[in-house]
């Protein structure tokens, strides 16, 4: 059995004091903390084998290249891609999605076409498509959700039309943590001849991904939301699609022959990786995947389910707390959006911070969704497997004091 105390000890930052209180970190959907093994993998990289990969015959460069390419292989297995040629390293999910917009959609969309996306999308999976639709004079179709944040199959069928060329959807939403019916979306989209881009930023940290089973055409995620360092993201794409795409960034290492007037480009996946790549972050991603596979997704899901159930139950008991989004734990990861009555979320966040508790407040990079639900701003807590029920107790105690601090009732 995995020992939670041991796990917590793996994360040095969790020992930190904030405003004199033990840190309670509930902002995991924004970025996760890093285990010592990942931090050490970074240090070791710089202390032992830092070099520019792919470019040198010398030992350091060979070692850096091997670490980089072995991680590509590991990532391919991790998400069950057919080949490591389908794995492109980017700096984050945002760059991965923009790459698809510039290099695929830009060449495959006319003013007669439509792009279908969901109203719940994070700005990173919304603005690239909106802007390219504007540039191309194409239409952008929104799939709307109910007040719980749930997308219905009817809505999917209504909004994916014969004209739809691209469907973009978050696997899991960052606002309410809802798991979208992506397999249904993919099958409906493919029937209509549209490709599907899945934003896996909020799913990959929390559930086993199988891109073949999802039949995703593109799938993107960020390392920093799953224990890895900042500065590395992954774009998975089906080989047939990637092969026919024009490059995105041009520069060193993505070429075959360069002459004054023309250039031929390297094979997949190198065609999409221009300039010096972030080997350090890739090495860290490798170590992060090792950590996740060591504890296993079963443990991660079980812990997050328990924490979420517990937190929902406790929050529900507080009269002055309004919880947003579906509470159906079967369809949700460890993300809860809420507000304290009469108190603006920023004030709630500031007050909680004084108790050492880190939560997120605001529009969560999802302005159209907030408008759709007629919300200005919410508080959000989001768990990872290293969080504990004791932390939730601390959080609940603090939440009960929020209104008091704001002059409602007694302080």
């Amino acid at each position: 059995m995995i020992n939670k105390e041991e796990i917590v000890k793996d994360f040095p930052i969790l020992d930190r004091k904030v405003n004199g209180k033990k840190l309670v970190y509930f902002d995991n959907a924004a970025t996760t903390q890093k285990p010592l093994s990942v931090i050490n993998a970074i240090s070791d990289y710089y202390k032992i084998y830092n070099a520019n990969p792919h470019r040198g015959a010398h030992t350091l460069s060979v070692e850096a290249t091997e670490a980089y390419e072995q991680t590509r292989n590991k990532v391919a297995k991790f998400i069950n891609a057919r080949s490591e040629q389908e794995i492109i390293f980017t700096k984050n999910t945002t760059e991965a999605l923009n790459l698809v917009a510039y290099s695929y959609v830009n060449n495959n969309l006319t003013s007669d076409d439509e792009i279908t996306i969901c109203i719940t999308e994070h700005h990173s999976n919304l603005i690239p498509w909106q802007q390219i639709a504007i540039r191309k004079g194409a239409k952008i179709n929104y799939m709307y959700v109910d007040s719980d944040g749930i997308l219905s199959v009817d809505e999917i069928k209504n909004k994916i039309t014969d004209k739809t060329k691209v469907v973009c959807i978050a696997h899991v939403t960052n606002t309410f943590g809802i798991v979208n019916p992506v397999e249904e979306i993919v099958s409906i989209a493919h029937e209509k001849g549209a490709i599907v881009v899945i934003d896996g930023a909020q799913s990959t940290p929390h559930m086993k991904i199988d891109v073949q089973k999802l039949d995703a055409d593109f799938f993107a995620f960020s390392g920093h939301k799953m224990l890895a360092p900042m500065g590395v993201g992954v774009l998975y794409g089906k080989k047939e699609l990637l092969k026919n795409m024009t490059p995105f960034l041009y520069g060193g290492d993505m070429i075959e022959y360069v002459s004054e007037q023309t250039t031929t480009f390297a094979e997949l996946p190198f065609k999409f990786e221009a300039g010096t790549q972030n080997v350090e972050a890739v090495v860290g991603l490798s170590s992060a995947i090792d950590y996740i596979e060591k504890i296993g997704y079963e443990y991660i899901e079980e812990q997050e389910r328990e924490l979420t159930e517990y937190a929902l139950e406790k929050l529900n008991q507080i009269d002055d707390v309004i919880i947003y989004g579906s509470k159906n734990i079967e369809n949700k990861v460890g993300v809860i959006s809420f507000n304290v009555k009469d108190v603006h979320p920023h004030d709630t966040a500031t007050i909680l911070d004084r108790y050492g508790i880190a939560i997120r407040s605001g529009h969560h990079c999802a302005q159209p969704f907030m408008k759709h639900l007629d919300l200005n701003s919410t508080c959000r807590i989001s768990f990872y497997f290293y969080n504990t029920k004791e932390e939730i107790d601390i959080f609940i105690d603090a939440i009960k004091k929020v209104r008091g601090h704001m002059g409602y009732g007694t302080k």
């Binding site: 108190v343 605001g362 704001m406």
Partner: protein, 141 residues
């Protein structure tokens, strides 16, 4: 900074149902100010009598700090000339940036002195200055 020093009685009072939060008919100026990163929005409306700010009010939404700051600012500058109001904005911003710390100098800011130590909470500085920046923009047009 303790929470009681941030959410003082003055600030809480001004942030909840302020009498300055309303719409003015036939305003001479309507100016929208906002903090894109957090979503706070404030619309200032001003009615002049010659050079004098005869009436001023705000609408919008945001945290207690941004709402209270707007309301307190309005109390401060109503009835003053444009020039006097702008001077007060400058004084306020200098207080926030800790460029002026002398209490004698700051005295004329009245209740707005409540924001004096907001720079100890960097995440909230933007909230405190929103209304004042919006006023400045509206008058400098």
């Amino acid at each position: 900074m303790e929470l009681n020093d941030l959410y003082t009685d003055i600030i809480l009072e001004h942030s909840q149902n302020s009498y300055n939060k309303k719409v003015i008919e036939n305003a001479d100026i309507t100016e929208l100010g906002h903090n894109p990163s957090c979503g706070d929005e404030i619309t200032l409306q001003i009615k002049f009598d010659g050079d004098i700010i005869k009436n001023i009010a705000y609408t919008g939404h945001g945290c207690a700090i941004s709402q209270a700051s707007a309301s307190i600012m309005i109390d401060n500058i109503k009835g003053k000339t444009k020039k006097e109001a702008l001077d007060e904005v400058e004084l306020f911003l200098k207080m926030i940036k800790k460029e002026i710390t002398d209490d004698n100098e700051l005295e004329k800011l009245n209740d707005a002195i409540a924001f004096k130590n907001i720079s100890n909470m960097p995440a909230r500085v933007k909230c405190a200055v929103l209304a004042w920046h919006t006023l400045k923009e509206s008058m400098e047009k």
